[in-house]
Amino acid sequence: MTGNRFSAILLRAYLVLFFLYLFVPLAIMGAATFNDSRFPTVMPWQGTTLKWFDALWADGQMWNALGITVVIGLLVVLISVPIGLAAALLLGSLHARARSFLYALMISPLLTPGVIIGISTLVFWRRFDVPGGIGLSVLAQSSYIAAYVMLMVTARLQRFDRSLEEAALDLGASHIQTFRRITLPYLRPALIAAAFIAFLQSFENYNTTLFVRGIRQTLTIYIATKVRTGVTPAVNALGLVLIAVTVVGAAVYEILRRRQLRVDAARASRAAEMEAQMQAGGIPTRTAADELGAGAVPVALMGATGAPEGR
């Protein structure tokens, strides 16, 4: 028993150390923003200042890089979300062998190093005299980000009750109506979450963009260039702002995702209850028309899990 207690304490101590290891570097980076020193550091502390935020605000290069990053991110969302959705629908309608082959092909970009994706895109488009720039960055990033979208949509599609589609078709809805009124609303939470993750992935990308950017500077490229050519705490200020934005974004995302999970769980238990009642007392079978009429398909945010993953 004492041995047990001892090892439990040991494990807990290890966890504390682990989380310190995770957060102390970030805290140091953030703190260095406020140090009145030319090089970003926390020791020695040469006085507290906010001037590096001003320096960042006045940096035209940074604003330019931010603009390019946002444009690329939005274009990546526009391309990768429809492709990922199409891929998930296609996978959902295939049989075992074709499915596993296509699945392997689709996830292969996730197992390819980011630099390779950048290089192959650059080399390929050179054949058509397309140089590096915003366009190629969007194509290179979309080629693997679409796979994340596919995985997130597939996760939600697996819990989809196909009979809803069948019923709508039986009741005379056209394919396009069924898709717009049944399938798409059901997938909406996953699609919004996927768009969010796709944008974040694009925003964070460094290794792939490095090769296909041409002369364009995205925010990550800007940071890396600064670090190597004369870094000032203005970069820390940028880091701190990005951390603040992403932490708030992450919190909102998690809250919405958990709310959606609760909504889904509640729906599932309601459905189970109805089924039980039906078997017990002959309540008329629930039809897709009821679902359609009631607009019962939840349209709240966020579906599949999607931990951010960088490359």
């Binding site: 090892s7 570097p25 049989h95 296509l102 290089i119 192959s120 390929f124 890396a224 970069v235 960088g310």
Partner: protein, 293 residues
Amino acid sequence: MAELSRRLGGPIAALAVAAVAIWLVLLVALPDLLMIDYSLRPNLPPSEIGGPQDVHSLANYAVLWSNKIHLGIFFRTIWASSLVTVITLVVCYPVAFYLAKVAKPSNAALLVLLLIIPFWINEILRTFAWYIVLAYNGPLNRVLTGLGIMARPIRWYGTAGVMVGMVYAYILFMVFPLTNAMESLDRNQIDAARDLGASRWRIHRRIVIPHAKPGIATGCVMTFMLAAGSYAVPSLLGSPSSRWFTEIIYNWFFEGGNWNLGAAYAFLLLLLCIVFIAVMMRLFRVSLADIAR
């Protein structure tokens, strides 16, 4: 396919197939194939492309073989990435075990959230944080010399810096697969083994680790691939003596101006990752679907 058009109707099915075809052919398969083709051709001035000189050969690959410096960097990248993978596994295993089997569920959810937060921040910034910590006059050296642990500061930038930065950057890719795999392990198995007198070490070796195999394989594949393919970490935390293979590739493209050689080197890096994945799948008897979820 018939199933798809029965479900979605002709027009939507056709659109879906077209979108997937564009993705897989134009954005994934053809670029990779063309990169391989490129790597087999000589670097020629534009006027001679397609001419009699423009024939396939393995000459670009022979360059790596005969360039002892590049070859050395290639093998050092493999070795260092493997080491990063092993260290990350060792660092993350206890955390994953705690999250999956020891912590109360509500507690674990909070810890997972804490774990995710640093990873919403991009790799460059995470690496930049270590750039500050590991600076010659930086906090780590000052604390260590101040406490008398070291007589004088160390130059961390270089192999040590790269390893530290990479382990830090890829923790999440190891913790999550491990935790997922361990979560499905029935606690009763651990309790039963303990009641029967198994030591802690034996419980892990005979019960937890075998059960977590798919997670271990996934985490190792992701970590190795990210480490071997990283440009961000070695370029910020490395030194001239710790050059990474990706840096050589980058130089062929943007400084040496020889894209064909760069493509050959890049393909070797890709091949390395494929071989690593295949070996791990064989070793741990898992399928591709287990690895990428």
